[in-house]
Assembly symmetry: C2
Homo-oligomer: 479 residues x 2
Amino acid sequence: MAKANEFVKEIADIREDFPQWYTDVVLKTQLVDYGPVKGTMVIRPYGYALWENIQRELDARFKATGHENAYFPMLIPYSFLTKEAEHVEGFAPEVALVTHVGNNELPEKLVVRPTSETIICEMYAKWVQSYRDLPVLMNQWANVVRWEKTTRPFLRTSEFLWQEGHTLHATQQEAEEETLRMLNVYEEFSRNVLAIPMFTGKKSEKEKFAGAAATYSIEAMMLDGKSLQSGTSHYLGQNFSSAFNIRYLDKDGTHKNPFQTSWGVSTRLIGAVIMAHGDERGLKLPPYVAPVQAVIIPIAAHKAGVLEKARELQETLKKAGIRVKTDESDNSPGWKFNEYEMKGVPVRIEIGPRDIENGVITVARRDRAGEKVTLPLLDPVQGIQTLLQDIHNNMYADALAFRDSHVKTVHTMEELGNAVNSQNFALSMWCGDRACEDKIKDAFQASSRNMPFDQSPVGDKCVCCGKKAKHKIYWGKAY
Amino acid sequence: MAKANEFVKEIADIREDFPQWYTDVVLKTQLVDYGPVKGTMVIRPYGYALWENIQRELDARFKATGHENAYFPMLIPYSFLTKEAEHVEGFAPEVALVTHVGNNELPEKLVVRPTSETIICEMYAKWVQSYRDLPVLMNQWANVVRWEKTTRPFLRTSEFLWQEGHTLHATQQEAEEETLRMLNVYEEFSRNVLAIPMFTGKKSEKEKFAGAAATYSIEAMMLDGKSLQSGTSHYLGQNFSSAFNIRYLDKDGTHKNPFQTSWGVSTRLIGAVIMAHGDERGLKLPPYVAPVQAVIIPIAAHKAGVLEKARELQETLKKAGIRVKTDESDNSPGWKFNEYEMKGVPVRIEIGPRDIENGVITVARRDRAGEKVTLPLLDPVQGIQTLLQDIHNNMYADALAFRDSHVKTVHTMEELGNAVNSQNFALSMWCGDRACEDKIKDAFQASSRNMPFDQSPVGDKCVCCGKKAKHKIYWGKAY
């Protein structure tokens, strides 16, 4: 059982052609399809269920930290974009513009939001009057459009789904605390829900968000050793609040611009899940976001009692809150084994006449091929729950071990090149100059990822120019 | 207590100026604000929380009836719109068009979706091959854009949020059953969650969706006697499936076009809630969608133990799944009473030193001014839950009684005019001709609402032309 069949063969070899493996997997598991307009994607039900689980887990965390959801218009007057100088420079080339309605030209062209700082600031300026109105802690779940030249499903698409938090605070300290609080929420969520270890740290000036005072990121290592920036949290200072004239009357009787943050993660996280955990058989989904956590496969389904027991089992598990599905189709068990392995379902439950006779179910786990256990047919819930937690822990440990073995501390350009060219991150000291970043990019197509909070030095000279180092920083090829 | 204060006075009199009352209420309760682009709205946290509750309740019903969520691109090639002749005629004048990205003109202009039939059909044509692929039961939660001349928050806005179900079936019968199944889901949801009675029925040819074979609607009566079309369910026949060449190989070896449905409700439902239930004091929110179901107001909060007991009570209620908030601000209790009445919070809990001494809490209900009960401080959960259910039932009964007393059966044009001009729906027989609909529209600015499933006649002649009647139908002024 669980032998390679035609389905598995249709997926490119993960070791030989990782990009093709990715494309094969996302299409064949029906996570996603290409939309008719270049660069767009259709998120199919299996992919969207993954997104719904991500949303639910994140939304609970945002609310637990005091945020409320709101919804701002998608169409933004072009003039708003131009109010913050760096912001317009960063986004103007890739914004989609609405110029007409029906046959009529609009008086001012409208931007389809690439992000919502500008329109949200416009509203905040109206709503915030007094220190009593602070802090403002809002989040929005929305679609955004950024026209990208090279696109890949989930990783980079013209339209994507995301959440964007936008907060205002009375003091710089509060705003900086919020920036890091939400970065930590992302890291904790990634670890405990997606089973992905993240490097958290500060981005370089070159890589920060257009209009931010400082950008922090979570960076994940994919199985090809490349980095995926998986979320960002920005400290915006007073850049936008002064550009949009958000002012509040403070206790001391003077008017001040509040300090601001914004932070977001997107459907890109689905790409992270795929490329941090997959294997030669296809997807390997972390249990706490898997649309189906356990699939029940009846063996010898035509025999008396098998389907009945399978359905009873499904009801028992469903009532316990486990996302379970029974495949009663007339495909062979072997076909089903392969199908649900490709789809990354964490737990497979086999139930046949012999199992029923013995009062057990046979349980296989996606993360450890060939390993099977039996659980009592009449009391399976706790066993399945423990197994899901164990699979999660195991997947996290695997991802962490993989990452740890693919980070090389480097002291020379040659070492840096060797590291990033053989599927590793490089960790080095850096002088802080953009010229060195550009040089590394030109030489190895690698970019700075982020500067970890633990800055204990691994040397004292910049890996590139040899001058006195200011920072410790990760480098890597990136999506 | 609960006397009129400056807040209540700022709301226009509901009996004298209903439109202004609506505007005052939606703005002052911070449900919504106007967006910077004409006709757009910003849904503020209090309004968005209402929408989240609506979404959660509906989404559970869609999933229970076998539907899965997916997400399709927002930008649609203009050519798609033109494939179904009636569809393009209906939507072309009001679609927003993306023509440029940055400084570059696009090769084909793109439509910001006004609805997604066309792009979804394009994908279905790719996905559906065999009878085994049917039925297809998908839903999408999304934003849509329709440029409207006259706009009002929630009721008619350039951009709004909605859900759109899109299904494919092998037979006409199955598709017609699905159309009515989802209409009934909307009606049941409106009754059991929004506490709004709906007239369900079929729209006239004039009023049906552009491209549908038949449209069914739920129609609610607002407190000014006008009708709000609150949701629609369309039987699309094979109109789109043939235009988009969706074909499946049937068991008999021939290729066929499937039969199709689509159905949707939107943020307009928030408008229905406001205008079906409000009163001179402001909002009156049905408990099962109210963002705050119970507000706790500490009385003499400075006295020892009051805030502690209020917080304990909040924890107790929260754990029981009740959406509860304690207002610890330094505003006076009287101010708070008015504030939360205006915001429509169903239950107000007062807790002060005397209550604590007596081991009780004092509970007032929004739907019956002046009526108060006491509940045991130590064991309040069941009492509050029962009260919420009772408030729901009472609000539904009130709305139903109001509606029943504002429907007039009419047999002449004069009676029809009198009915709709004095805040009623008119129920009459009708020949089925568009000419009579147009005549009634011209004479009284009233439109046909829908034809109820119970067609037991109230006469045999058309109310307008006097010819033999074919249908029984509701008429009304409408939003």
